[in-house]
Amino acid sequence: MQQSNGYILRYTAGLTVGCALVLALVSLGLKSKQEENVLLQIKKNILATVMTLDEKSNVTDIYGKRVKSYIVDANGDVVKGMKPEGQSSSFVADQYKKPVNERQLPVYEIVNEADSTKSDYFVLPVYGYGLWNNISGYVAIEGDLNTIKGVKFSHVGETPGLGARIADDEIQSRYVGKQIFDGQEVASVVMQKGENGGGNASIAAYKGNAHAVDGMSGATITGKGVNNMLQEYFKGCYKNFFLARRTGNKQASIN
């Protein structure tokens, strides 16, 4: 059966409007739940770099008690009147588009459970580009501002089972205990090419090297993306903050 052009046009218009309506309703109905997931995920990622969370832990509660947050500029000075929590969930991504020395950089200090004036760890968000799309993460550094306590990486479109493994605990555990500084210079932590069997074998392979971690087989370019990301944020963005805090002559005034 051959339909008239008018019918086809009306049909297309109707179909488009119908589909758009359904999608708009679905998106509207799920939006608050999705935004909630994203914001909770941010808090969870920050906390998960330094502690083990299980399904029962109340992330919002722990976050409120343990996290002291502020924003610094590339000189390492605190930006007054700004809090990371007040920014949109894409704040780090938006800042990433600016030149390194103009970025505003969130810092999440995890305070000691017993004495809230003492900082146990510093958690810093990082952002970069993998193979297919953006990658991001959080790096937790010990109070010495040198040793890595833990990392959490996530990604938008890395290949499942290959580059997407940066989001797995197995890969992230390789960064624990590595060091950012070599003397007074930032050496960062570099993922190598090739993989030494995975699991504990991978950790053992680079035990003696404080600035190298085992690679991911089949995901060399994602690994390079992670390296560039860490390099850029350690060397460019947060270096002055590290140095100021390490020498202790520029105590950040919070609030």
Partner: protein
Amino acid sequence: MSSQTETLVKVEPSEPLFSKKNRKLLVDPLDGNNPVTVQVLGICSALAVTVQLVPALYMAAGLIFVSTFSNLFISLIRNSIPSRIRIIVQLAIVSLWVIVVDQVMKAYAFEASQKLSVFVGLIITNCIVMGRLEAFAMANKPWPSFLDGIGNGLGYGVILISVAFFRELLGSGSLFGIKILGSDSLTGLAYQGNGLMMLPAGACIIVGLLIWAQRARNGYAEDH
């Protein structure tokens, strides 16, 4: 004219919901007429998302949902679709369901959706879904189309999960992320992960072996 045909249809004795013919729609794609191993459709994603079992499971569930509801929906409106733009209409309906699946996963299965990343969106281009719409749903009533959608989705899922089983076991020595082989695993067997299985080429070999095994068993041969 149209009211006449409708009365004619009603006079026919109604077919039971799970008649032999309808059961065949559901079961056939699982083995004898499998979309992946027999019709060789949907190979691309069978190569891409089968490195680990968990993403393969979610992918299979997503595809079953999309193929079922696209089939049902297209079958419901099959008589009104202008034949000249039918492929575009099919594509629009498939995309609609794929986006719904993606959005729902982001709201209720956030971590799995992060793992699958772009591949949920790529269900749109899966040849099985489009193939069943064009070959079956355009010419059949809603209920058989619905069953055909489930059957073909399951047929695809079965292959996806078997490929993922072998790839995860041989490639990383684990199943569902739990270490099975290797010195630091449950069994303690020494095992060196096979890098080839982590790459799409490994999936190609496994899919090939599955096709061979299945065709040898069923005595199926391509027409010449």
